[in-house]
Symmetry: C2
Subunit: 343 residues, 2 copies
């Protein structure tokens, strides 16, 4: 069977060879619609760009690296798939490198990874992306990188990043619960090494303040981004004499733990307890009832991060290339409802 | 900060340098207990073997490749983590390559992947591992590989593999339902391109035959290894005039779909309907009620596959190196119970 060539792609997309080459090399000088047509032709033909045919600058390294430390399979797979979609279009491989974000050796570990595996650059997921001394040391060693961080605005510290406005989305979730009539709203933290945990907590706090609801420290429980911590935290909140009528878990895994805790106590969700998560994971759509959450376009975010990394690698981008921001959106489903009237 | 050396590892593990080197190079001539001690020292020190210090034969390629096509994040992450644990001990990187298992171009795609990314070898997950013409072509092109396949015994076709006895475990699940008193037992298929789907169906069929229960084609529904197909299949079975009292979903994702379908019809699981899955995914422990399933040690299976691949790469193994088999085990949880007595 004959392998499709770049010429086949050009014919199918009805563009010049040069245009196909520009799209493959991810150069900015192609119109969005044309780029889409070329990508579609590549996908339909199953065309595989030959990495050795790329520009000399990028001919040596064959792969990008993805660095993460996250217990949530849905998040990790979405990030992988986003970066992979860009790797496919540009002929790069993808090496994955889950790591221990608290390791004091991490900078050396990543510098060696890049050198030994000859990686063209790294995508740093949170929380590694939020350890400034780590990022600084990697850049000082000449490592190309892009960071995915939680922030309301571009940190403008000169490094390439994609930023996600978790605070705003957490505000929206809390406001949704308040507008349903809840005032006793529990909050379960994600891991404190993640910037997103702090941002989500601030969004919760801001909304309570805005609506004049006093913050009750008893309703706030620390923990990690895990099902088990959601279960444990919810059990603690539901055992309070004046228990909350709604619980906001900092991600969908936590919210899944809250749902299990509520059901195991014989509660009817949402009538006895409203539950909200954050992430819009497949679980949030599949649970019964489905979870109110914030839709975080993780795959798109990772895709943009990979594109931003390629700009860094190729130095095609102007000096102050803009960093992109994403805002997760409130998605209301069956797990939230007005509280029962007090008897 | 000083990087730990192989000498530090030897001192901490109280063994010779040669022994550490043998463990790093994955040579078989080290006692299990000693190997464990060395691995622990490596982990505690955060020691990173230098790939260039390995034997000349393996000095060139820096990474293994993992090839999969599976919609289930839990499965994919478990396979990745199993292969990665071996990569870490031996200094290899891991490139991931999700692909379209039905692509006619797949052999070329994988041969190019190996060449361009200079991969030392590939771990093939199902269903690619079960496409014999693909495996043959890759081997003919000198690609080192190991296959993870569903089979009751070593296929003994000369290729390296790890085999999983799905049929036996599916028999056990069906027998468990029969012994609870069920005789109307629905079965929801996984994707037919997966050998495991066929093996699990045969286990179901074998158990029914063994217990003298006639097979009712109406109770068997085709589909894929997905939540949505589980939901759809269950809705169809629950709409039958003489509906099943138990449903066996071919994996936990399917069973999760069955659970959602049952709850959305207001049924009380397990009293109105028993549900069993297959895989022992985190979801199966976290759902309410938790799912009866078969515990499939996916991470261990992948770990053994990676070890087997390294034997192939290093040609240290005797010609007829044994392939290892795994048997998933029945895990009984709250989602299965005796059927309600007929009114």
């Amino acid at each position: 069977m004959r392998r499709p060539t770049i010429k086949d792609v050009a014919e199918r997309a009805e563009v010049s060879l040069k245009t196909v080459s520009r799209v493959i090399n991810d150069e900015p000088s192609v119109q969005a619609r044309t780029r889409e047509r070329v990508r579609q032709a590549i996908a339909e033909l199953g065309y595989q760009p030959d990495p050795s045919a790329r520009s000399l600058r990028s001919a040596q390294p064959y792969a990008l690296g993805l660095v993460y430390d996250n217990p949530n399979p849905y998040y990790v797979i979405a990030v992988q798939n986003g970066v992979l979609s860009v790797c496919r279009e540009t002929g790069y491989g993808l090496q994955i490198h889950p790591c221990d974000s608290s390791s004091p050796n991490l900078a050396n570990e990543l510098i060696e990874l890049v050198q030994h595996s000859r990686l063209a650059g790294l995508v740093l997921a949170p929380p590694m992306s939020e350890r400034n001394e780590l990022v600084t040391e990697l850049i000082a060693h000449g490592v190309n990188l892009v960071r995915i961080v939680s922030a309301a605005a571009d940190p403008q510290d000169g490094s390439a990043c994609v930023y996600v406005d978790d605070r705003d989305a957490a505000y929206d979730i809390t406001e949704h619960l308040i507008q349903l009539g809840h005032s006793r709203i529990g909050f379960l933290w994600g891991g404190k090494s993640h910037g997103s945990s702090w941002e989500r907590y601030k969004g919760y706090e801001d909304a309570l303040r805005e609506y004049g609801i006093p913050l009750d420290a008893e309703l706030v429980v620390e923990g990690d981004y895990s099902f088990d911590d959601g279960f444990r935290g919810a059990r603690r909140l539901l055992a309070l004499p004046d228990r909350p009528t709604a619980i906001f878990g900092s991600n969908d895994e936590i919210a899944a733990g809250v749902l299990a805790a509520a059901k195991s106590s014989g509660m009817n969700v949402p009538y006895d307890l409203s539950i909200a998560g954050f992430e819009d994971s497949p679980f949030s759509k599949q649970s019964w009832p489905a979870l109110t959450t914030a839709k975080q376009a993780t795959q798109d975010i990772a895709r943009h991060a990979a594109h931003r990394l390629l700009q860094e690698i190729r130095e095609h981008a102007p000096k102050a290339s803009p960093n992109e921001g994403f805002s997760p959106e409130l998605v209301v489903r069956g797990s939230t409802a007005p509280p029962r009237p007090k008897a």
